[in-house]
Point group: C2
Chain length 337, copies 2
DNA sequence: CAAGTATGTGGTACCGGTTACACATACAAT
DNA sequence: ATTGTATGTGTAACCGGTACCACATACTTG
């Protein structure tokens, strides 16, 4: 591998000139430029990114810390992040935290040592102190969907509360009368907000009772168990709004096992808009987040922060959209109990 | 951030000694060791990975090049790769090639400049010349499921041909009489081998005809179209073996739309064992590859190659297993045509 | 007692870039 | 003629480590 000094020698100029040429910083004579071009060509020279990183403290690398890439929500997000990053010349490091603080911290340690340019957090646990510490040290951070208590970094999120309301309204519009909610772990702000949105939408209804709200775990298994519990407790529910799609899938599975017709007897609505919702039978109505857009946005924001094009930290709230599918399809408003 | 020179000064020794201490290379007196420890503690010193990379040409970073992380086969794989990598102190860079040679090459360029320690290819296009060129330059490469023509690197794959036979035998055992196959793009060796396995298993049967083999695209959409075509051409098939799970899902969808009962009228079997197979209705029988194990293995092999613990390139063939589920469940052997 | 070996440490070149600064020249404005 | 500004280039320190080599001691061993 040729080095910048080889190029300098061959072109008959100094390394400084080569460097200026490469980075388009400072003056370079047109003729000199030609000579340099030829030399680079001849030597097949490629500047060494590590040396650049050391000298310039910039590695063109960002990290994406998420709970688990095998969670179906994240692949699309990761794809978006990487697409945008590579468009801007950045490389993406993947980290699975399992939502464990210890793992997150240890990743951060390593990433700092590697002069990573910035971090995207789609993982939960770290508090605003951690984030502040990062930004203090000059490492830009952008959070996704999980807000540190005090606003200490840019955040991209979507309208969970509104989404939950959309879901409830849709179900009501479909003629459902008793709508239960399976909510996710309350450490997750998304779970909390969706629950809040649900509660707000239904608390004024005459059938309302806290017993219609059941805890799940944001995974299929938890959706199954919650549904079993729910149907035992309230055989009269005619709709389930799950806090995410995985639990909705669980609900579908559980109902199917119990021989309950979906949407005939019970309608089911999820949240997130992951691809899975299109392959269930019946296909799942869901409140879709613009997952790809979120990833692309979060990536773009991070890069802007890195490159100094972005001033203040900001929160970006993206719209969600109800995607009506078969799992909530009812002919008219009067099939319920 | 403290540097090694700061530590040296505080501990009253030279940087060489600090370096020896850090890397456990060469002698360090026990007392000196104590002093160094204290100094490191006091300064909160963390060795700079980039500087190390430059000096030692080792970055403790590997790259995973795959077609698309949003393809449901890959998240689990990526997770396994990253788990093992992080266990050994390596960091993983994610690259989506979309199976396009241009993108692959451009990733490789960047990765080389970054002194990446090794690459895992789960992407298709590059030929053995490319791979050889890499290994010549000292960058270890391990391929997954996609074999370069000439063995020029270690390969992890699974028994596609045998898997296809398992599938056919299973379907025959379930009493199916006319088994069709939707095969994937023949650029993929996996598609080719599965098709070959199918053909071998059925060609001696009296109903055998090439018209039972239909091209798909390894995605849901292609599975749907292939199934439509197939059912039109052969309304008498009673089983579909799809070359991967996504196409099997497509088959399921298409059959459902046509009002064909699964498994009653047509049994469906997939290949891969992705999570999706458990959420379809009916749940999908599939020939499962040990996806996580494959990822873990490929990662472990790469790291061994990097660290020189591994001598010769080798091909690892992993077993597949038929996972019988509802989509092929038939009471007895005589429901067919 | 001389030579050999294990232990312990420091000096410094090097990895391959970036960049501050000094210096040189050309041309325009005062 | 003098000052100023834009253009163009080179020297060398620096980023923060690694590692080769020289050198100093302390014990063995023949």
């Amino acid at each position: 591998m040729a080095t910048i000094r080889d190029v300098a020698k061959l072109a008959g100029v100094s390394v400084a000139t080569i460097s200026r040429y490469l980075n388009k910083s400072g003056y370079v004579n047109v003729e000199t430029e030609q000579k340099i071009k030829k030399a680079i060509e001849a030597l097949n020279y490629e500047p060494n990114a590590v040396a650049r990183g050391l000298a310039g403290k910039k590695t063109n690398t960002i990290a994406l810390i998420l709970p688990d890439i095998s969670n179906p929500f994240f692949p699309e997000l990761a794809r978006a992040v990487e697409d945008v990053a590579s468009m801007y010349g950045y490389t993406v490091i993947l980290c699975n935290s399992d939502d464990e603080g210890v793992k997150e911290k240890s990743y951060i340690e390593v990433l700092k040592k590697k002069y990573i340019d910035g971090i995207i957090f789609a993982s939960n646990t770290l508090d605003s102190a951690d984030v502040e510490q990062m930004t203090k040290k000059g490492i830009p951070v952008v959070c996704l969907d999980r807000v540190p208590p005090k606003q200490s970094c840019s955040v991209v999120r979507s309208k969970n509360r509104e989404g939950a309301k959309l879901a409830v309204e849709h179900l009501l519009g479909m003629g459902c009368r008793k709508i239960a909610h399976i909510y996710g772990p309350q450490e997750f702000i998304t779970a909390k907000e969706r629950l809040a949105g649900y509660e707000e939408s239904v608390k004024h209804l005459d059938w309302y009772s806290p017993t219609f709200m059941i805890q799940g775990d944001f995974r299929i298994e938890g959706g199954i168990r919650a549904t079993e519990l729910l149907m035992e407790r309230h055989p009269d529910v005619d709709a389930i709004f799950a806090g995410n799609d995985l639990m909705a899938v669980g609900a579908l599975k559980a109902l199917h096992r119990m021989g309950v017709q979906v949407p005939g007897q019970v309608a089911v609505c999820g949240f997130d808009g992951i691809g899975m919702t299109e392959i269930t039978q019946p296909e799942l109505t869901t409140v879709a987040q613009p997952i790809y857009e979120m990833g692309a946005l979060v990536s773009r924001i991070l890069i802007k922060k890195i490159e100094g094009t972005l001033e203040a930290d900001q929160t970006y709230e993206l719209d969600v959209a109800l995607v009506p599918r078969e799992s909530t399809l009812r002919r008219n408003g009067h099939e319920s109990s």
